[in-house]
Amino acid sequence: MQDISFQVEAGSVFIVMGPSGCGKSTLLRHLIGLQKPASGTYRLLGKEYWSLPPDEQTRLMRRVGILYQRCGLWSSMTIAQNIALPLQQYTTLPQKEIDALCEYKLALVGLAGCGDYYPSELSGGMQKRAGLARAMALDPEILFFDEPSSGLDPVSANRLDELMLQLQQSLNSTLVVVTHDLDSIFAIGSNAIYLDPVTKSIAAQGKPLDLLRHTDNPALREFLSRGGHRNHAQ
């Protein structure tokens, strides 16, 4: 990837979109500190991430929540234990309060009473929501989502979109969503970048609907209109 430069406005829903193989997931791995860029700088919550000592990086990352494409729920733990672990590690809260917080987070994502289930006992949509509950465990200021609607049926995907929007509005957090799901892009995106699979760089930047209406980039137009078969602009 090269020539990647963008800013995410606080409180917005920022979309990283592009066809398969354009580098969306690679970009996300850079954003969540799993991969160091070959050159350039990355400022996260006002701090230059890669110039910080490892302890500081870890502390900064605790202000961020991530929902992975495959949820990343720890399979050897129950859902409640998944949510409780970050709280046990990084807070001094008593166990009783941690349990109450877990139940609260699960209720937020519509999974009240499901804390004792193991990830493998939940459906795909429930796993995503459980992953989201864990991502919110430490009340993050930014939430990153990697292909949140992948593997979900349209109804579940739509519900997840609505949930993400509701949480973003009520918690006033920033959402960075890596996706190629057009319905999600137009439903929740307030700003977006389009990654070009050939140049591996940003080919367009702006509001999704504006990009669709005004772009002169044929690849982006084709992407946003699903090869000309759908018109979200209407």
């Binding site: 969540i32 500190g33 799993l34 870890t58 502390r59 990352m61 605790r62 961020v64 991530i66 992975y68 494409q69 495959r70 949820c71 990343g72 729920l73 720890w74 399979s75 672990l85 970050p86 590690q89 990084y90 864990r134």
Partner: protein, 370 residues
């Protein structure tokens, strides 16, 4: 059903006709090319074509590719529309594949050696890094600052210890029997059957017991560690831990490392006892010795030194087995195949490490006369 044919009509047409279906004898691509070697301006037609399945596009694709390789064009646009579309799709994906592989094909031996060197140096660096992190994690544990969960440690203790007892018992018993039988034959020549106890005792206590336990645990526990951690990698569970700042060494590696390192010497003692029992069965049933004479000879000819050397070897092998399993698991790729590769690599690297370590320990004990 009409016979499939491919007829060359001068000056420049190849006409396909009949039913081209799987299981029917049809002209092959090679036969057509042998009869009419590629030349410029040839076109394919099929006005009388009947039914066809994948058989026909396969022949046509072979022709087009052969013509292109020979530097000639072959016009297939006159074929039925479905065939033209199929050929377009296949040729487009072949072009992409060719572009993707051209770099690999064009690499010279020097480049390949360079890449191998880079991969090797990276692997050495990764292993050194892993061992360094493990030492630091151990330091944290000793200092009481480790985030290791003792519940996980307890679970791994069970897997690495008590649950391995049946397989260790079976193999140790059989090894004791085998060793006693093998020894019994030459010992009988010299009427020294009584020393079968020494053979089994020294052999199992010093070398065979630890090696056997090490190999069984490599196949049983190290591979399981690699598969567990590899699957966590595939499911992004490791990424979730990394981004939350949860130390993988404390959380995932230390419970496995400690459990296996602590359990291996105990399994070694268990294996020694069971194999001695196997030897006793042979001594009593085959060599007609009394159990008392067997035990008496065993205690007279084996020393605590033999047991301690064996236990030391077991500890070393336990450390190596757990390191190999955990390292391969944490460095696993991100697909199902990679988990299989990590598991295989864990077992192979364990066995290589076991052989090297046992050789070094044996040489050391001989040199130091232990």
């Amino acid at each position: 059903m009409n016979t499939p044919t491919a007829q060359f009509l001068p000056p420049d047409r190849i006409v396909f006709a009949g039913d081209w279906l799987r299981g029917q004898k049809h002209p092959t691509c090679k036969a057509i090319l042998d009869e009419h070697p590629p030349k410029d301006g040839v076109r394919l037609e099929a006005p009388q074509l009947g039914q066809w399945d994948s058989t026909l596009p396969l022949v046509l694709l072979g022709l087009v590719v052969a013509y292109r390789k020979a530097g000639h064009s072959l016009d297939y646009r006159q074929l039925p529309e479905g065939l033209v579309k199929l050929l377009d799709l296949c040729l487009a994906s072949q072009r992409k594949a060719a572009t993707a592989t051209v770099d690999a094909e064009q690499l010279s031996i020097i480049h390949q050696a360079g890449y191998f060197g880079l991969r090797l140096s990276k692997a050495i660096g990764d292993i050194a890094n892993f061992i360094g992190e493990l030492v630091l994690a151990m330091g944290r544990l000793i200092a009481g600052k480790s985030q290791m969960r003792f519940r996980d440690f307890h679970g791994k203790l069970l897997i690495s210890g008590p649950r391995a007892l049946p397989i260790i018992a079976l193999i140790s018993f059989l090894m004791g029997i085998i060793l006693a039988f093998i020894g019994a034959i030459p010992l009988k020549w010299f009427q020294a059957e009584i020393y079968v106890a020494s053979l089994v005792g020294i052999g199992m206590l010093r070398l065979m017991g630890p090696v056997m336990v090490g190999i069984v645990m490599a196949g049983r526990s190290s591979s399981a560690f690699a598969a567990e951690l590899g699957t966590m990698q595939v499911n992004e569970e490791l990424d979730a831990m990394r981004t939350l700042g949860i130390p993988l060494m404390d959380f995932l590696v230390m419970p496995r490392f400690l459990a296996m390192s602590l359990m291996m010497p105990l399994l070694g003692i268990f294996a020694d006892l069971i194999s001695i029992l196997g030897g006793l069965v042979v001594a009593v049933v085959y060599l007609r010795l009394t159990p008392l004479s067997y035990i008496s000879t065993l205690t007279q000819t084996t020393s605590i030194k033999d047991l301690l050397v064996g236990l030391f070897t077991c500890s070393v092998l336990g450390i190596l087995d757990s390191i190999c399993g955990c390292y391969q698991g944490l460095h696993c790729g991100r697909d199902a195949e990679a988990v299989g590769r990590a598991t295989t690599s864990a077992v192979i690297s364990c066995i290589i490490c076991i052989v090297i370590a046992v050789s070094l320990i044996t040489i050391l004990t001989v040199v130091l006369a232990i």
